[in-house]
Symmetry: C2
Subunit: 192 residues, 2 copies
DNA sequence: AAAAAAAGAATGAACATTCATTTTTATTTA
DNA sequence: TAAATAAAAATGAATGTTCATTCTTTTTTT
């Protein structure tokens, strides 16, 4: 395949530039020419790696999303109590939001706007399966509230995105202590 | 002022069209010509009412946001118990998300992207002052957890936005019953 | 009849994408 | 091994389109 001959470094540089520029200006306000310049590449070169602008952003999304899930479940062990398991996952997500703030912000933008096309977004959703399985077990064991996974997610995981955004906008500082508070709150919200 | 001579209907139509088109295509993918067409107006006419595209979207944002706050606190009475007060506000927000879904979605997009360059976008949750005051009282009375307002907001109010988004993307149906679940979850999360 | 509001067409800039060349890399031949 | 050639990758400069904004004219209101 031709693809594999081409420099993986260049592809990465393009993806990195895309993230940074989309984060700062939004997708439609980010010209290909700027992405190229930031990646030290000619505009034409982008089209050797990606079909077009939409493909570039879709692939960037999928790549970031897969980094995200890999990170989140890296330390997960499904043979633990529901509480331990949840805490493991939750804290990894919190870490990701804190340490990989650029990725996190990019994902947030993609999830909350019309940047990404449907198929890519759909593909992104499946990634949290282990957490859903854990919740299922928790519901069966009478630990987790027997309510929609969407509500569980909205109340326990999504707040981290919001706090990350608030932090990014300098409205709020997400310190260690705040993370503790947020965890206890998340746990309280989803348990019986 | 000339402004007041011009038709308020046209201005409203422009704002309405802006919301609808930005919701469906995003700001930068929405041409002025389409906004004009949807509002049954010539493109040039937009510039009689707004300075330019940025001004149009900024003003739309301010207008929607002020509708939101007016709606949310319309029924609020600060001389009630913390629980009653919170429930009043929370349910109004839920209603707004359900019945004024277009407004709600638009606000969400503005709050989570770089569309708006209005200082007021950076004000965070300050526009919800009565709610913050209520929480203060709740903290003093030992009802509400003594933690950052941002965390309280993230866990009890923000989930509604998330659920509205999920609904908008047809992943989820926010029924009456789900609203009940969500309310109990929200209340559990912020109380001691 | 004058002033204000609205319109459609024109302008010029920005931008995604493609084209024609050049540069780099890999392969073959002597 | 080194020169010669072929293939791949990369480029800068076009291309053609889209679009925000403005200009000139027409319509409506006062």
């Amino acid at each position: 395949m031709a693809k594999l001959q081409k420099s993986i470094d260049k592809r990465n540089a393009l993806i990195k530039s895309t993230i940074e520029l989309v984060n700062n200006n939004g997708f439609h306000a980010t010209p290909m020419s700027k992405i190229a310049k930031m990646a030290n590449v000619s505009p034409a070169t982008i089209y050797l790696y990606f079909e077009n602008k939409q493909d570039l952003v879709n692939q960037t999304y999928l790549e970031v999303k897969s980094n995200y899930t890999a990170f989140v479940f890296e330390t997960y062990d499904k043979d633990t109590s529901v509480k331990t398991g949840f805490e493991l996952i939750w804290r990894r997500i919190a870490d990701f939001n804190r340490t990989e703030c650029e990725y996190s912000f990019f994902l947030h933008q993609c999830n909350n706007t019309q940047i990404i096309d449907e198929p890519s977004r759909k593909e992104g959703i499946r990634h949290l399966q282990p957490l859903l399985d854990l919740w299922k077990r928790g519901k069966q064991g009478g630990v987790i509230k027997p309510i929609s996974d969407y509500i569980l997610y909205a109340c326990s995981i999504n707040p981290l995105s919001f706090l990350m955004m608030a932090q990014k906008q300098d409205q709020f500082q997400l310190t260690e202590e705040q993370v503790e508070d947020a965890f206890l709150t998340a746990w309280d919200s989803i348990t019986l």
